[in-house]
């Protein structure tokens, strides 16, 4: 029970209940405007009937030839609206658009190795680790995570254009690359 609608520039005035959460970064306005100016169909919001924002996803399409794919840049749901399948629905939309409009081969995303909730969720949605990227993130400053806090998993899920599942592999967790090897 939520309204699925496009992300709009003025949503930046309303996303505090989502962005004050530690896992969600607030970027400069140029970050959001850049995504909206290029891939507005890969950015959407879930909204409560009261008009309160519940979560959003921001994505893009990139890569060349068989690496052409949809990318999830940020996916987040406000703490009070978690476990309502909102993330699942937004991912569905992003996958659908990456598949039907952009005709990508897969969808991928980066997630902190320490973010087990998110990793398990993505696995549940059909994603698998493609590689581990060293020091992809800055420190969260919570200390405990060590390497897992700064390293990222690059996770992927093949789309209909990749029926042979060439864009994924089973031993991804062991494939380690450094941050400047990825774009």
């Amino acid at each position: 029970m939520s309204v699925l609608r496009p992300f709009k520039a003025c949503d930046m005035f309303k996303f505090n209940n989502i962005n004050l959460d530690i896992w969600t970064e607030t970027y400069g306005i140029g970050f959001y405007l850049n995504y909206l100016a290029r891939w507005p169909d890969l950015c959407c919001v879930q909204e409560a009937p009261s008009g309160r924002m519940m979560g959003y996803v921001i994505g893009k399409a990139e890569g060349s030839s068989t690496e052409w794919h949809g990318h999830v840049t940020a996916l987040t749901v406000a703490p009070e609206y978690r476990r309502l399948s909102l993330a699942r629905k937004m991912m569905n939309l992003l996958e659908m658009v990456s598949d039907e409009i952009y005709k990508g081969f897969f969808v991928d995303l980066y997630v902190r190795c320490a973010n087990t909730v998110a990793i398990e969720m993505y696995e549940g949605l059909g994603y698998s680790v493609y590689r581990r990227v060293r020091e992809y993130y800055g420190s969260l400053g919570i200390g405990r995570g060590g390497r897992d806090e700064e390293d990222a998993f690059d996770m992927r899920k093949p789309l209909s254009r990749d029926p042979g599942r060439r864009s994924v592999r089973s031993n991804g967790r062991d494939m380690i690359v450094s941050a400047h090897d990825v774009s």
């Binding site: 959460d21 530690i22 909206l36 959407c44 009070e80 309502l84 399948s85």
Partner: protein, 932 residues
């Protein structure tokens, strides 16, 4: 020298500019200019380096020289674009590109740059004309679409009259139908097409497009197009069709977008006579969905509730117990989700028997728990019970026992989240926030601050368990301010890492009325700096957002362009922005010596703010609200003095400061017009001169002002008014004539830059060197009114009235305003400090009236200052800590122990001491700085 060699020499200049080494860029430019004195690129790079090192006047000279030569070279144009942007001269950028494009009409890149320059300046009409020209010349479809978008934006401008608006939309329609390729080739062109049809109400045509196969496909994958489609169908009255379509999506595609459910609900009630039957059908549909989805999705269940609510509204509900039954059912299924309370809120407003039954149901929810889900249920039931508490049960005793209950449950609930990582929020937090809310109510009822002491102790404890709980921090920020402990509020605010656009939406938590806590007079500019930090986002907005509007044009994302423009406008004209500006000015006057430079500078800035159409982007919803529906909300309850600043507050303060600065300044409109660099803000309607409006608007919106301003602020405002009315004629008489002011400015420019002031013609002066002869006699000196003379005595009386209030905020508020009034008095009288001015204008009588006011003001301020310092001595002591700890005895347990509370007591008391002492000493300092 070969051009390659020259290029090699220019490279380091770019590098220097890129790394911000503007000085060395200037040196390099000067060197190269010796050999190539005519080179436009070097000149323009120098102009850029000058602008970036704040050498505006010098840069202007170069700038005009380059522009006069009408450059067409790409690199020069780009450099100049940055120069002009730095100077705020967007219109000149447009002209520059237009000139270049005129010289090279087949240069497509120049055409595009000219178009973009217009976009950046928001000049839609000429943008559209440029795009039209480009379309003719280069035959690219996108230029046609640019011109269409330009036409639409022109129509949407506030200054476009309605008839013109329609004409423009008709033009846009004609253009889009003339396109050689159909709009449905891209979702965003299609979007633009549909939005034009909607505006012109050409629904049949829109319908045809949407119903076509491609159109249908676009709407099913593009949320924006689908949003428009929905609206067009609604406008067309196709409720039934929309409902059928939604039903199909819900059933066949398992679509759970709430908008589809709303569409089904809308159709259910369209034909009055048949509603009852339709209700039954919809009921069956939603029941089936609810059963199918179980706990996975709430849409079906909530649909049933909304259906019942609407059935009642339409008089077709026949089962009086159904609503509560559905609510119970909803709670059974969804009660363990955090959002259950919010979901049910629209239905909670019950009365009589229904309320009794519902409350009985909630009271029966087990109050013990072993799992997270049971805990959530209990929390939801508490929130819902609390929502319906009647006035009769909102007593001190009842709330106190609720506090006990919530707190007890909070501690019981902590183990449930004990294993969560530190990055997670604790599920128990809400219980503490409920307790916090009840504390606020009791504090409101009793006005005893011990309840706030307890509240902060509990909430600080919550943060030790739930480090990321921003909701707890926000409430703490509010309470610390109420307690007069601003430093602690700031600590929590900083811990939230507010950044970027959040500065606009959240800074009100810390900066609202912050000048009353400012220690700037004794050199502590923490809060002034905090104000400046928030302004960064407005700068980014004015420098960056238009680039993304341009980008949206290049990537042809037409759906985004109006949204970006709205965003830019709302941030540019943000209410919070100008409230913060106002606070900063108030603090600045207490920090820097009042001089004609400050007066001139602030005058120019503030003047432009007065005519803005402000947007309120402040986020107040972020603060929880678990207060009963018959009570004031938590936000209103915890505002300082119960009054939030709004437009009336801002206008009242802007008005008084602009008036004072206008009087104190030599820059009248005519002078300013000549000296100001950069574009003026666009005005939608012509208005009488600002000065006149400021004088008249004294009492506009008195009711609203009374709501937003405290009685002490109102007294200050009327003091300012009286003062300005009294002194206006003398300022007007004594102010040097424009010719003299301009001559002086010209002289300064020559001294600084070695060049005369550009574009300013100095009108001939009578007499020489400022000692101008006046034709008319000076205005008769009259005595100040009672309101002026008595202001400081009244302030003292007010101070004594609130002196014994427990929280220091009342004395701080009165003291800060008395000090502010004194500073304003110094702004207003600065001109008459110069003996020669007084003598030349024969205003000796006036000056002696000032003396009496000043002496009285200083004696009042000194008294207040001494009392504040005395009061500060009783803070930060073991007694003050004991009072605090004693208030919290009921709260102290083995977990939240005595030492924990003592530490908070110390922090609160120390923080109060600091602000009382600082403000007190600051006032003393101001008294001696302006002793005569």
């Amino acid at each position: 020298m070969s051009s390659a060699a020259l290029e090699r020499q220019i490279r380091p200049i770019y590098d220097a500019l890129d790394t911000g080494s503007n000085k060395s860029a200037i040196v390099d430019c000067n060197k190269l200019l010796k050999k190539h004195p005519k080179n436009e690129l070097i000149k323009s790079l120098k102009a850029l380096a000058l602008v970036r090192s704040q050498k505006v006047e010098e840069s202007l000279v170069l700038c005009d020289e380059i522009l006069a030569a009408k450059p067409t070279n790409d690199a020069v144009l780009t450099a100049m674009m940055h120069v002009l942007r730095g100077l705020g001269r967007h219109k000149d950028t447009v002209t520059m590109f237009e000139e270049a494009y005129k010289q090279q009409p087949s240069n497509e890149e120049l055409g595009a740059q000219t178009f973009f320059a217009n976009v950046r300046a928001g000049q839609w009409k000429s943008a559209q004309q440029v795009a039209t020209r480009m379309y003719k010349q280069f035959q690219e479809d996108r230029y046609l679409y640019w011109s269409i978008m330009g036409t639409v934006l022109q129509a949407e401008e506030a200054s476009t009259p309605p008839a013109m608006r329609t004409l423009l939309y008709k033009l846009a329609h004609r253009l889009i139908t003339s396109s050689p390729t159909p709009s449905y080739l891209s979702a965003d062109r299609f979007y633009l097409h549909l939005s034009i049809l909607r505006e012109l109400e050409l629904f049949d045509e829109a319908h045809k497009l949407i119903e076509s196969e491609v159109g249908g496909n676009i709407c099913s994958t593009s949320l924006s197009c689908n949003e428009l489609r929905r609206e067009i169908w609604r406008l067309r009255g196709l409720t039934k069709e929309e409902g059928d379509r939604a039903k199909k999506l819900i059933v066949e595609k398992k679509d759970r977008n709430w908008l589809e459910f709303l569409s089904v609900l809308d159709t259910t009630f369209i034909s009055k006579g048949e509603s009852a039957e339709h209700v039954k059908e919809t009921q069956e549909l939603f029941t089936q969905i609810a059963e199918q989805d179980g706990q996975k999705d709430r849409s079906g269940l909530l649909g049933l509730l909304e259906l019942e609510r609407r059935a009642r509204e339409n008089g077709v509900s026949f089962d009086s117990s159904r609503l509560v039954t559905l609510m119970e059912q909803y709670f059974d299924k969804i009660g363990d989700k955090a959002c259950c309370f919010e979901d049910l809120k629209p239905y909670l407003t019950l009365e009589g028997e229904e309320l009794t039954n519902w409350t009985a149901f909630l009271d029966a929810i087990p109050s013990s728990f072993t799992t997270l889900n049971e805990l959530r249920r209990l929390i939801n039931s508490y929130k819902m019970v609390r929502y319906n508490i009647p006035q009769s049960d909102l007593t001190i005793e009842a709330e106190t026992s609720r506090i006990q209950l919530y707190t007890k449950k909070y501690f019981e609930a902590l183990p449930i989240g004990a294993d969560l990582p530190v990055t997670e929020l604790q599920p128990a937090d809400d219980l503490a926030l409920l307790a916090g809310s009840a504390y606020i109510t009791v504090w409101k009822l009793t006005n005893e601050e011990r309840y706030l002491f307890e509240a902060v102790s509990l909430l600080e404890y919550v943060l030790t368990k739930s480090k990321q709980s921003f909701l707890t921090r926000l409430l703490l920020i509010r309470i610390y301010r109420l307690l007069g402990a601003p430093a602690l509020a700031l600590e929590h605010y900083r811990a939230m890492h507010v950044k970027q656009v959040q500065h606009d939406t959240l800074s009100h938590f810390i900066l609202s009325r912050v000048s009353m806590f400012s220690l700037a007079p004794i050199g502590d500019i923490t809060f002034a700096t905090e104000c400046l930090e928030t302004t960064q986002i407005y700068l980014s907005n004015s420098q960056e957002t238009s680039d993304f509007i341009v980008r949206a044009f290049t990537s042809e994302k037409y759906s985004q362009i109006p949204e970006f423009i709205e965003f830019e406008q709302r941030l540019e004209n943000s209410l919070q922005r100008d409230i913060v500006k106002m606070e900063h000015v108030r603090m600045r006057l207490g920090h820097e010596p009042i001089s004609s430079d400050i007066i001139d500078m602030e005058l120019i800035e503030l003047k432009f703010l007065y005519d803005r159409t402000h947007h309120d982007n402040r986020d107040f919803n972020i603060l929880v609200n678990y207060q009963p529906r018959i009570s004031e909300g938590l936000n209103e309850q915890t505002l300082l003095f119960g009054k939030g600043e709004g437009l009336s507050w801002l206008r009242a303060f802007l008005r008084l400061y602009i008036r004072a600065f206008q009087q104190g300044s030599d820059l009248d409109d005519m002078v300013e017009e000549k000296l100001l660099i950069g574009d003026r803000p666009k005005h939608v309607v012509e208005q009488p001169p600002l000065k006149e409006r400021l004088r008249k608007n004294a009492s506009d919106n008195a009711a609203e002002s009374a709501q937003q301003l405290t009685s002490d602020e109102l007294a200050f405002v009327s003091f300012a008014d009286e003062l300005a009315n009294w002194l206006e004629p003398y300022h007007d008489y004594a102010r040097p004539p424009p010719a003299v002011v301009l001559a002086e400015a010209a002289k300064q420019t020559v001294l600084k830059t070695g060049h005369p002031l550009k574009g300013v013609e100095i009108p001939p002066q009578n007499g020489t060197n400022g000692s101008h002869k006046k034709d008319d006699e000076p205005p008769v000196v009259i005595e100040p009114t009672e309101a002026i003379v008595k202001f400081f005595d009244n302030a003292k009386a007010r101070y004594n009235e609130v002196k014994d209030n427990a929280s220091p905020i009342d004395v701080l508020h009165v003291a800060a305003l008395a000090q502010e009034a004194f500073l304003l008095f110094n702004v207003e009288t600065l001109r008459f400090k110069t003996a020669s001015v007084v003598k030349a204008n024969k205003l000796g009588g006036l000056v002696s009236s000032f003396k009496a006011i000043r002496i009285n003001a200083i004696s009042v301020l000194k008294e207040i200052s001494a009392d504040l310092v005395r009061r500060s001595e009783s803070e930060g002591t073991s007694e003050s800590r004991k009072t605090f700890v004693d208030a919290c005895t009921k709260l102290i347990t083995s977990e939240l122990d005595h030492d924990f509370v003592l530490n908070i007591a110390k922090r609160v008391s120390d923080s109060r001491k600091k602000v009382l002492e600082g403000i007190g000493k600051g006032m003393g300092k101001i008294c001696s700085s302006y002793s005569h």
